[in-house]
Symmetry: C2
Subunit: 342 residues, 2 copies
């Protein structure tokens, strides 16, 4: 089915002028007689003319589009970041293509191809938990297309990154638990491939160390971030001969799952076992008890990432700034760690 969309040629013919003049009138070029401009604008409006961005992109070799690749879309975390990103992008006159990789490396590679084929002017990326090879992103660098990582960043690439202070956040969260008198604090950690996992783990470890608590291997469980595994490992922890009296989870979905398991087992939160999560997802204020968590400024992450991207786009190709912007987190104390907050 071949459609014919109205073009500047149609308008030119109708008005007996050249298409250049129509183009100029439409783009606000100064050198156009007011009446001519008025006539063009009126006709364009009348026939629902929409400038063909594809053709424009071809001639300017800029698509005016930014790509965003996120690992998943299940909780509100990444959608919130996308909202922030879209806001800044739109203000700067850019469209946004979003694709989610379903935590699959293959899909991520395919998504990167799509972005490339659609000639995005820049791309924002948060990696899947599977990604260990970054060739599909290095291509962007080679082609001079700016790339900015956020949240789940690629360490080996020298490009701008936006993260939160995972180490500080984790440290503060665990010290908070220690402050509530907890002594056997377990950590459900993320996969070692993700930098956020390692940073948060480090924060956990240093918090224990600083406060003279022993670091017990049996209380540190790295896992793959799936709900099913979370459930299994929490059960495992509770069944230890000497179970933990607190649990610091790598993220909120995990912490929430933990709370369900703990409650099902008839234990009291936070008296028997306290729980702290990470991110302050929408759901964390809703569960019972409320989840104490390290809040991340989601929208801000999206905004800053786009700003960094726009800055890169105005630069020369070779001049990559590999700075990392670290945003602050904030501990939000709720009932899962402090009975008074119930």
């Amino acid at each position: 089915m071949k459609r014919h969309q109205t073009t500047i040629i149609d308008i030119a013919r109708e008005l007996n002028i050249s298409k250049s003049t129509v183009s100029r009138a439409l783009t606000g070029h100064p050198n156009v007689k007011p009446e001519t401009r008025k006539a063009v604008l009126a006709l364009a409006e009348k026939v629902d003319y929409q400038r063909n961005m594809l053709a424009l992109s071809l001639v300017t070799s800029r698509s005016n589009t930014l790509g965003i690749i996120v690992p998943e879309f299940l909780t509100s975390f990444f959608p919130q970041i996308v909202i922030g990103a879209q806001e800044v992008a739109r203000q700067a006159g850019y469209n946004v293509i979003v694709s989610q990789s379903d935590e699959s490396y293959e899909t991520e590679v395919a998504n990167a191809r799509v972005m490339l084929a659609n000639r995005v002017d820049g791309v924002l990326v948060s990696l899947t938990k599977e990604t260990r090879n970054y060739d599909h992103f290095k291509v962007f660098q080679r082609k001079g297309i700016p790339i900015v990582f956020f949240n789940r960043v690629c360490e080996e690439m020298q490009v701008p990154k936006v993260v939160v202070d995972d180490y500080e956040g984790a440290l503060g969260a665990v010290e908070h638990l220690i402050g509530r008198g907890k002594k056997r604090i377990a950590h459900l950690a993320g996969p070692d491939s993700l930098l956020i996992s390692r940073k948060r783990l480090q924060g956990y470890k240093d918090a224990l160390r600083k406060n003279g608590l022993p670091l017990l291997d049996e209380l540190i469980i790295p896992y793959d971030l799936t709900v099913e595994k979370a459930k299994i490992y929490v059960k495992h922890l509770l069944d230890l001969s000497e179970p933990p009296d607190a649990l610091f989870a790598i993220n909120d979905p995990t912490a929430i799952e933990a709370i369900q398991v703990i409650k099902a087992k008839g234990l009291r939160i936070p008296e028997d076992i306290a729980v702290v999560g990470f991110s302050n997802d929408y759901a964390s204020a809703l569960i019972e008890p409320g989840l104490t968590t390290v809040a991340q400024p989601m929208r801000e992450i999206g905004k800053v990432a786009v700003q960094l991207l726009l800055e890169q786009m105005e630069r020369e190709v070779t001049d990559w700034k590999a700075m990392t912007r670290i945003l602050k987190t904030q501990l939000i104390v709720r009932g899962s760690s402090a009975a008074a907050y119930r």
Copy 2:
């Protein structure tokens, strides 16, 4: 900053053949000598050649892109639909551009423009709660670009629509409450502009009527779906001289807000007042008590919508099928309406 991306001309020059041949080799045209093809493919791979979809789109006047316009991105509802939609779109070889309108009519109009300018081959739309004028979507029809509405549909346009059975869902939910012995059932309804609001309201009314319960105006409160208003109206209901013994909310965020307010007031759920929501958002299983709700098949909605869109795209322009696909809902009973389920 002008970048040079590798083109078929570069490859042709390198191999001393014409760009036509390169094009043929790349697209799998039969009339290419095997060796030539092999050489082209090898070089393309080596230089990270990515076919420029913009140029392709220009010549084929198809962008291979579908647009999705959703009203918001705050809960998991629309993101889930997007996931389903992307899945089917990808399988059919289409990319997806997503934009969210922030429940703002203005933004929706802008988003529609973007889709048009980017020459999407088809568009999926769910309206904002503000939208009363549909000119920005009628343009698609006039230009012969297929459009499919889902969830929040436009009644006055003769195009395919995907909805769930809001009437049946609401009816079943309210009858469930009646079955639990509730007699003064309030309804926090959505704005009258949305068909889903009216359908669900109708289901509510008919359920009361069928069961010989009075229809009380003071117990029906249409509102604008904001969290703040939800809170105010729930408080208002609880302060009535004769407060309701159950609450049917237009959606889950509203129901969840209601539960918070009711608990804060020290009333028991479901004994003093039962609550039922709509959609089965991620959070509804997490709150305490669990929220009884009318589950919608989110991913399925996205999938079916894209299927309908693809069907339209294979048709002649004029031949619009205005069928409405109605998907089934399922009542999920949890503690907010039935103590036994706690």
